[in-house]
Amino acid sequence: MKWEMVIGLETHVQLATRSKMFSGSPTAFGAAPNVQADAVDLALPGVLPVPNRQAVADAIRFGLAVGAQINPHSWFERKNYFYPDLPKGYQISQYEEPVVKGGVVTFALEGVPHQVLLTRAHLEEDAGKSLHEDFHGRSGIDLNRAGTPLLEIVTEPVMRSAAEAVAYARTLHQLVTWIGICDGNMQEGSFRCDANVSVRPRGQVEFGTRCEIKNLNSFRFLEQAILHEFERQVELLESGGKVVQETRLYDPERDETRTMRSKEDAQDYRYFPDPDLPPLCIDAAWIEQERAALPELPAALAQRLQTRFGLSAYDAGLLTASREWANYFLVMTGEGTLDPKLCANWMTGELAATLKRTGLEVQDSSVSAHQLAALLRRIQDGTLSGKMAREVFEILWQEGGEVDALIAARGLSQVSDNAVLEKLIDELLAAHPAQVEEFRAGKDKVFGFFVGRAMKASGGRANPQQLNELLRRKLSGS
């Protein structure tokens, strides 16, 4: 029997707000335990939550970016359960009415367009962290993360392969960082996926029983966990077993998933509207304000790069991998004098390679877009050969400086003056009459000998194209 995989993803996107979802504490990562927890985060007696306006604005922007409906009237509920790192004994979340309804995320997978329908996106607060090691049999609680704003984005069960799920997650990651609502840092947990996986015989309409795999914080783990879970369920079914609905945890070290809790011990969270918080009302004016603040989205920009600059879909995709990457390109081509293809080639070639080698992000690049543009302008006007430009690029990267000043100071400009090149060639031919004869007798190989000598004589600065033309003309005796 052929099995089909059915996947739905729930992604917790940590919003890049300065303060927490319902308190004024900062949200920066990596602070000493409990220094970023105020009275509200500690759930002291008497404290109250106040919603973070920016977090709501971020949710609206996300909704607009995926073409979803912004709910004019949603509300916050309490999800009640006891856990030591959940200070209030409940998490404030949205249950019945989320702030964002519907929406769609589109991407191409191996050239084929895909659409993933979203069910909803809702606002909630994160819990703290329990630390069970290093405390000699006791547990430590760090509440720095408690109350951090999250946007939980839920898809319909529409994905049919691990590759599709990963492509969706990557596109979502690109989008939330692009519109500036998330820093996208997966190691720090700013973008975490839970995967709902089920299998069914191909052709069957009903879904199989699903399992939820929690806390996948890299694209690789997401893919491995889904593939592994698929195999586990298929093996189980093929050996006559049944899939039990449960929550499973992926262990990347052993590459396996294991039971976290089954449906039987599923808790009753006793959701009810939080009486401390009035309904979340979003009017059209607010929506329009956020729409105006939204940047051009990656898909639209990629399309524009193709039609306006004549780039390939592949290049356009690479250049819109992140907003910083796209901005770099747009700054370079901004003056309208540079060949967009030349810019694209240099960015995806030399720049990308150097960034990768040095472990930097494009926004931290040692060579700015303006510097690279100045460099490419000198390729375009013939001052530099490609090889020389790479040398200048290397110097720029290491030492910085101004492109034209560097070229002048190091005598790096290309020799494109015909008179200078002709003089050089004439001297060369006069010094090697035997080789001239050989060439004229039909020994074409000797041409390379002259090119090499001429290049050497010019200190490597001769314009190669011009040199070739002049040399051939002179050797042929014309």
Partner: protein, 489 residues
């Protein structure tokens, strides 16, 4: 200083004219507390050093000619308000070791006004009770008859004001916790419109119903101090911004033409005849000063108690989840694992009434019961609100008994919680509708226990309510009567 027969206005004048200092005034009240409170039990915490240092700071302001209506005035605060550096117990063993590290908005406003914290008053545990009998810190005795309860949950504040151990007290009202003890103790109490007083730092019982308020001998005293209590607070998302009002200058409108609505449901068979009698006489006083009586209907009022005992426990069950022994408060000594630590800490830290309400609340919110209880109660709550709004189309104020009876004896309603719950039957609707409500003393029963008249106004009608109460108090002197405070003759 005659502390039995004074007003806040007179105390303020005395302080400003330097007839006496805030330190002297505070010492005088502290001395009364020392003298009487061992048999009354009004206070959970008194800290003379802290109080006197605040008093001295107020004296510095007063000496410079600065300060407002409450500068230098000692105020008793219900132990539900967090006050920085003060143990804040909420009447519970759970918080017996909790010293608040911050000020509630209400405390902050009183501190900024230069008022002196006289002490923290006794209360039903987490404000759950109508007799003050659920307090972990022992009973409060009604100063009029010490074998009787003071009412609850703000029993300590009410008894302290009645016994003149404090000229003014803060309190809170979730289902009648200001008005019912005010009635039982023969003083004036005001629960403002929901949202007028910030709940920040006021330990939550039922968030959608809780509201801070005041207790004092007279409506004029309440008007004198209400401006300090109310005000927008950005830390409470349910706080409402309103233009500032000077309540004490709005006290003199005529009662002529005042339309007093009498909900027929508030004058039924359940009301003690002596209470009904005192009310009749109070209404005569209003009529004699030009008011008209109008019969009105609150058709859903018999549902208010059941609705309240679904919604309030539901919210409480969640609000009290934070008391888990992890970060502060009571933690069990013996436990095996984390779950057991939480369970035992709560089992030991909470009293029986609190547990009963947590269980009730968890039940009505649980899967399969939510629609039938919680959602249904929310729907009926809206009907009750509409009843009030319709009634106010025909009258300016509603009047009726604050409680069906006068203060009952200790233990009288101990065995059946529903009997206890029914003592709030006339006060609960006001909380469900978010309206302002008052209780003022209008006489005594045959045992010498006070009878309270409840006044209910439309939303934000505090100024008018105070004026209507003040009009009555200018014609009568029930509010000026002082009890025996349990002294052995």
């Amino acid at each position: 200083m005659n502390l039995d027969d004074t007003s806040l206005r007179a105390l303020c004048a005395g302080l400003r004219e330097r007839t006496f200092s805030s330190e002297e005034l505070t010492r005088a009240y502290l001395q009364r507390i020392e003298q009487y409170d061992t048999h009354l039990g009004c206070f959970i915490t008194v800290d003379p050093d802290r109080s006197l240092s605040q008093a001295r700071a107020a004296d510095v302001r007063l000496a410079r000619g600065e300060g407002g209506p409450l500068t230098g005035i000692p105020v008793a605060h219900k132990d539900i308000f967090c006050a920085e550096g003060w143990r804040t117990t909420c009447g519970s063993r759970m918080l017996s070791n909790f010293v608040a590290p911050y000020d509630a908005h209400v405390i902050q406003r009183f501190n900024e006004a230069g008022a002196v914290i006289l002490g923290k008053t006794n209360m039903d545990e987490f404000a759950m009770g109508s007799s003050n009998e659920t307090s972990f810190y022992g009973p409060v005795h009604n100063p009029w008859q010490t074998a009787h309860v003071p009412g609850g949950s703000s029993g300590g504040s009410a008894a302290a004001v009645a016994a003149r151990l404090a000229p003014l007290a803060t309190a809170t009202d979730t289902g009648g916790s200001i008005r019912q003890p005010a009635a039982f103790c023969g003083i004036s109490g005001l629960k403002p419109t929901y949202g007028r007083v910030s709940r920040y730092g006021m330990i939550a019982f039922a968030s959608s119903l809780d509201q801070g308020g005041l207790m004092a001998p007279s409506a004029a005293d309440l008007a004198w101090s209400l401006g300090t209590l109310v005000g927008f607070d950005e830390r409470d998302a349910t706080s409402l911004a309103r233009p500032a009002e000077d309540f004490s200058t709005q006290l003199e409108p005529s009662l002529k033409g005042l339309r007093i609505g009498l909900p027929r449901q508030y004058f039924g068979a359940g009301v003690d005849p002596e209470v009904a009698q005192a009310l009749e006489e109070a209404l005569r006083v209003y009529e004699s000063r030009g008011a008209r009586l109008v019969d009105v209907d609150l058709p859903h009022s018999d549902l208010s108690v059941p609705v309240y005992y679904v919604l309030a426990p539901a919210e409480a069950s969640s609000n009290l989840s934070r008391y888990d022994g992890v970060r502060y408060g009571w933690r069990a000594q013996q436990y095996g694992d984390l779950d057991e630590m939480i369970a035992r800490s709560r089992a030991e830290g909470f009293g029986a009434e609190v547990k009963l309400r947590i269980l009730t609340g968890a039940y009505v919110l649980s899967q399969g019961y939510y629609d039938a209880y919680y959602l249904q109660a929310q729907r009926v709550r809206r009907l009750i609100q509409q009843d009030f709004l319709q009634a106010f189309e025909r009258c300016d104020v509603l009047m009726g008994p604050t409680a069906p009876s006068t203060a009952f004896r200790f233990g009288d309603k101990g065995s059946d919680p529903v009997q206890m719950y029914l003592s709030d039957i006339f006060t609960i609707g006001v909380n469900l509708a978010g309206l302002p409500g008052m209780s003022i003393p209008v006489g005594f029963d045959g045992q010498g226990l006070p009878v309270g008249l409840q006044l209910i106004g439309p939303h934000f009608g505090e100024a008018r309510l105070l004026a209507i109460a003040h009009g009555y108090q200018q014609a009568t002197d029930w509010h000026a009567r002082v009890p025996g405070r349990g002294e052995k003759a």
